[in-house]
Symmetry: C2
């Protein structure tokens, strides 16, 4: 077989090559037609699925992970789609393109090109189901925010403050007449893709929630066969987007039948999640990150398909303070995607202060985890960032940006202080993030010490900054500190001390 | 045998009758002389121990628990002290005398006359070891405070901020020459008694800590025999004081050999506590409350001699929020005697804000427990309330007084909301104290809801007050509320709602 590469077909590494073909419209192309392609470059090869995009159009998308000439050949049960071939040139990516995010050093993340990635996420569950104008405003807000990951649902959301009808549905049908769970609505998915690309342009990872329980349309209870069809379809469409993360569910435990008295339609059994993960893994040649998010019951994140923990607060009082414990328990990156929301709504998960949100960020990040933001201030038009997007009104985002810079400025990823460094547990009452002996970040949280004494590793000298994490000031102390010394502190809450070893 | 009652010997119920006798001075009267007396009134009888008070004087003290004629007869191994008899008239107590505190309804407390007692404690470990002037100032401060219980040590304290030498020692000897642990210093104990009576006058219960690890004199490591002698002596002297509670130890686990690297002299083995409790029970005919206080490891408060839990914070973030869990676990009153200290010292246990101290009070008291206060602000003369007494500088005591009034005003003791009242766990995010269906106290802590909806027991109407626990305001809502309704709230921290059923 010979391949023709159109030399005008030039794609940047980690961008999307798309080949389109005309094919059958009759029957149910979403089910009847099988289409895939094998992509090759030198000794490399990858098989990707195509998908039906309506109007007799079939598409195959591919994200190359290395520069060079790439060719492909299709395989289909439909003659007009079978053994189609072609190719493209992949060139090195331009600045700002770093590829999909991977796990780094067991507990952290990096882009595929090695650049560190520190997740600083937020949540806007149903932002793609709001008016176009509001969606644009959400992207605008994100562009001026510290957030580089967003949790968002494919399906619309039915819950308190969420009663509007979306303008597009993922399936043929209507709320009144019901939906055909075997006929996707391609325009819905094209819109979804447009929004994912909008995020990509801003450098925001899309943590895409595939199932959730807050539903009045039936999308949470389509039955196993339709669930599987949906997963295969969406993964075939989206896996070539470099900023995709797969989140199997928001509040998986609410979707199982084990918790009574909660809203939503319980519709999943525990084994479903393993099967879903297998379907994704089988259809995603790029191995995007996969997680699953809890409500009241921790998921067993030790399962092999879970790339990182995605955790919601299960206790009113203590959440990100458990980060180091969860690292030990699961041996994976800990992302506390919901530590509660800054806001003032009636629900306890949605009415913490900006100070408390910021404190939870510091407590989690210094323990070598990653914390997610969210916001739920009462709004006259019921536009709450948490679900609708729009504007941010809270006081935490600027403080989160301040912390993000401090994390980025550290010599490497931060891990919690080890017991051996801790000596006789002198730090039981302070949270300490470290980079070996080169960097220490002490955080006193809601405590308000007026001074503190330190005993540092012998033979090392440190520059010291006093950081007010709320006022966002960094005051360097003059001189070099070593061995044992005392540091005076302002006797107020939310103070940190940064110690950076002199090289 | 005939008894002579001196009709001028009139004692109020729950006050102290004292009979004094001259006896031998030679040898070691603390060890050589055995002295007790049997007191009788009608069919009642009680045996109490006497004690040697130095200078050839022996004393027998007795606290009558009912009015009427009481007679006694002594028993001794010394002839001049044997078969001494006498008596007194016990009259009803005057206002303000309510007798020793007892456990009420499994989780609460009352005085012996049935009056409810709500412990609102504080801690001044070493106040009796400071200057006389400072001791008087401490009593003065207590008299204007909400506190009706104080944790205090018999022995002096050696620790950060505590390096002064006391003016009296409980034993013959000196720091330099050592102490004779078999020869008590009666003037030390007379002074201690004077201070306990000073507290009694103010209505303050004395939670007397019998052993503690912070020691440079050897009192924490006297050996079993001397420990036992000490307990017998002090219980014989003090058990007739109605405001005595026995606390076997501060930080019992630091006194055991199981925790390494901590200051203090580890000197006790786990079995010691049971033996100590037996000695107290044998020598205290009044059955005063007995507890034991932890540092990092919870004591097994299920042991039969423990009358109530005396708990120190073991977690930086979550303490009094565990109250209902501890009630279930131990089945006894939960007194969180150390939830951290309001202050600004270097140690994490001693630098929480007044807001956080107040919050911890509310979280514990609404869950049907009792929380203790303490204060550790840096002071130019190192006079910190926590150990030295003196003045209170913090912002929490006035808020604790405000809460105390609310607790006293409730129709009965507050218990945490039961699961059956809780319905489908609608209150997971709010702390709710109740008195059946007659009284509900909701507390939102650090959350800041702008409104809340309620579903109350059918057929009941409630008066509602909005309480700002920090600003100390109580705003009654007009009207009567029943069934389901919404309450608007000020969207700030530390707000409570009180609902009182209309009779």
């Amino acid at each position: 077989m010979s391949y023709t590469i159109d030399m005008k077909n030039v794609i940047e590494q980690w961008s999307v090559f798309e080949a389109n073909f005309d094919g059958p419209e009759q029957g149910n192309p979403f089910i009847d037609v099988i289409l895939s392609a094998e992509f090759r470059s030198g000794t490399k090869s990858a098989t990707v699925n195509g998908f039906y995009d309506g109007d007799g159009v079939y598409r195959i998308r591919f994200m190359p992970d290395s520069p060079g000439e790439w060719t492909f050949c299709t395989n289909s049960n439909v003659k007009s789609l079978n053994e189609k071939s072609g190719g493209f040139i992949c060139v090195s990516p331009s600045a700002g393109i770093h590829g999909p995010v991977r796990v780094k050093n067991q507990f952290h993340f990096k882009y595929s090109d090695g650049k560190p990635y520190f997740p600083v996420g937020t949540t806007c569950y149903a932002w793609i189901h709001q008016t176009e104008e509001l969606q644009e405003r959400t992207l605008q807000t994100l562009s001026g925010s510290p957030f580089n990951k967003i949790r968002m649902c494919v399906f619309p959301k039915h819950y308190d403050y969420n009663h509007n009808e979306p303008s597009r549905y993922p399936y043929d049908g209507s709320l009144k007449a019901g939906f055909n769970f075997q006929r996707f609505n391609p325009s819905f998915f094209r819109h979804l893709e447009q929004r994912i690309l909008g995020l990509q342009k801003l450098g925001v990872e899309c943590d895409l929630i595939l199932f959730h329980p807050y539903d009045r349309w039936g999308f949470s209870a389509m039955g196993s066969q339709n669930d599987d069809l949906y997963l295969q379809y969406i993964v075939s469409r989206l896996s070539s987007f470099r900023n995709i993360w797969w989140s199997l569910a928001n509040e998986y435990d609410i979707m199982e039948r084990t918790i009574s008295g909660h809203s939503g339609t319980p519709s999943k059994v525990p084994g479903d999640w393993d099967r879903f993960a297998q379907i994704i893994q089988k259809n995603d040649p790029y191995h995007h990150l996969i997680s699953i998010h809890n409500c009241m019951r921790m998921f067993d994140h030790k399962k092999s398909w879970v790339t990182h923990c995605s955790i919601q607060r299960m206790d009113v009082y203590k959440t990100s303070e458990n980060t180091d414990e969860w690292r030990r328990e699961f041996g994976k990156p800990v992302v506390i995607d919901e530590c509660s929301y800054e806001g003032n709504i009636n629900h306890g998960w949605g009415n913490i202060t900006g100070q408390e949100m910021t404190r939870r960020y510091w407590e989690g990040m210094l323990r070598g985890g990653y914390v997610g933001h969210g916001e739920t201030y009462v709004h006259p038009q019921e536009i709450l960032w948490w679900s609708h997007g729009g504007e941010l009104y809270g006081t935490s985002p600027s403080r989160i940006a301040f912390l993000k810079k401090i994390i980025e400025d550290a010599p490497a990823e931060i891990n919690p202080i080890s017991k051996s460094q801790d000596g006789i547990d002198m730090n039981w009452d302070v949270t300490v993030g470290t980079v070996g002996e080169d960097f220490f970040l002490y955080y006193f949280g809601f405590n308000q010490p007026s001074f503190r004494t330190f005993r540092m590793p012998e033979g090392k000298g440190y520059h010291i900054d006093i950081i007010d994490t709320w006022d966002m000031s960094i005051i360097p102390l003059s001189g070099v500190f070593s061995n044992q010394f005392r540091i005076d502190l302002p006797a107020k809450q939310y103070i940190a001390i940064r110690m950076t070893a002199i090289r």
